[in-house]
Symmetry: C2
Subunit: 210 residues, 2 copies
Amino acid sequence: MRPRGRKKELKGDARRRELLNALRRLLADGQDFGELNVAALAKAADMSRPTFYFYFESKYEALGAVVAEVRSELIEGAEILFSGRHEDPFAELQQALQGVVETWQKEAGLMQAFAQAASNDPGLWQQMESFVEDFVEPTGRSIVAIHEQQGRTTDLETARQLARTLLWGNERNLYRAAVGHYSPEQWAELLQTLTAIWAGAVLYQPEASS
Amino acid sequence: MRPRGRKKELKGDARRRELLNALRRLLADGQDFGELNVAALAKAADMSRPTFYFYFESKYEALGAVVAEVRSELIEGAEILFSGRHEDPFAELQQALQGVVETWQKEAGLMQAFAQAASNDPGLWQQMESFVEDFVEPTGRSIVAIHEQQGRTTDLETARQLARTLLWGNERNLYRAAVGHYSPEQWAELLQTLTAIWAGAVLYQPEASS
DNA sequence: CTCATATTCGACACAGTGTTGATAAATTAC
DNA sequence: GTAATTTATCAACACTGTGTCGAATATGAG
């Protein structure tokens, strides 16, 4: 009665993909995730509504799957730029932030949907937390390293906390930019402001007390 | 056929209050706004569901009305502290941020609901934008004033943009704190980190270039 | 070809929204 | 005070969207 082995790729994997692609496409086209319902999503992938539920629990799970797909790609973008030898920390900071800003600019629909839906679905919120947390560790290390180069000593946990707070601050501002359909100039301006904030927090602090 | 004038206060104003109070109470008790439906809200105020619709368009409008009520109180808390003569800017900054953090701590349920619901309802999002914008102007002015005291010149629009970005960063971090049911120690830690970020952005910047 | 498993979808039950229209309660005019 | 008028209430309805069930169909291994 054991299930007999399966060799060839199931058709279902392809159908699942179609669903994810359809969702990505809809979001890229500016579809608001809150207004998107399962019927429309299923239709966009040429299937009936119940069939959607064969593949996913809910539209939130589907969105989570899309985000998981692009996750690595997004993280690499910023992480690499942060692992230099910190000869010119300001320039590196700006480069790293530019990477993040460009990602949001390019994937505005997806990122906006993710951030928006995360406040409605506990699973997605958790995913967002862990997504940000992926950046916290390397960023925290970089902060410690930069401070060492400046002759200061910073505790890694403190650096992590600073990184976390800055990263969530980024998130909200980038979300606003996406929602507000920023022009390229406005995106650039935001990048500049974020860079100033990060630089102030990471590079220009006086000696720690207490 | 013109409506004849009305002198005495309508009963309706009182009923409306009851609804707002009920909503505030529910949120203070930790009720999740997303899970709250109109039936439950109406019941909490001892009326039927259709009666709720006599007073409000939707639960979002009701939440907006609650927020509008506390708005002035919230803004004063931080604004006053920001209008000093900037003899000790760091201390003022910390005081102002402490005020904001305490507000969120005290009204965590309401603030969390507001931030969460704002991503679902365009009207509330607009209200949130304008809420933050109320802080942008005085904060921007303070930044300019502080910089003057430091012998630097900063353009007001640049200062506003910096203030806006920092404020939205606050918002997201405070929201996270509310969602995560931070302990008093964690709130204090967050306050410290936010203060470091604001200080770095406002007080410790090198001369502007560009 | 046969059969177990994978996939599809019509039809259903349910939860929540927002409106309507008939009624009751409060307020005002005289 | 009471008739006229406006304000407030809610049962009942129509509608939108969710999630499930079960019967029918497709697929691939042997």
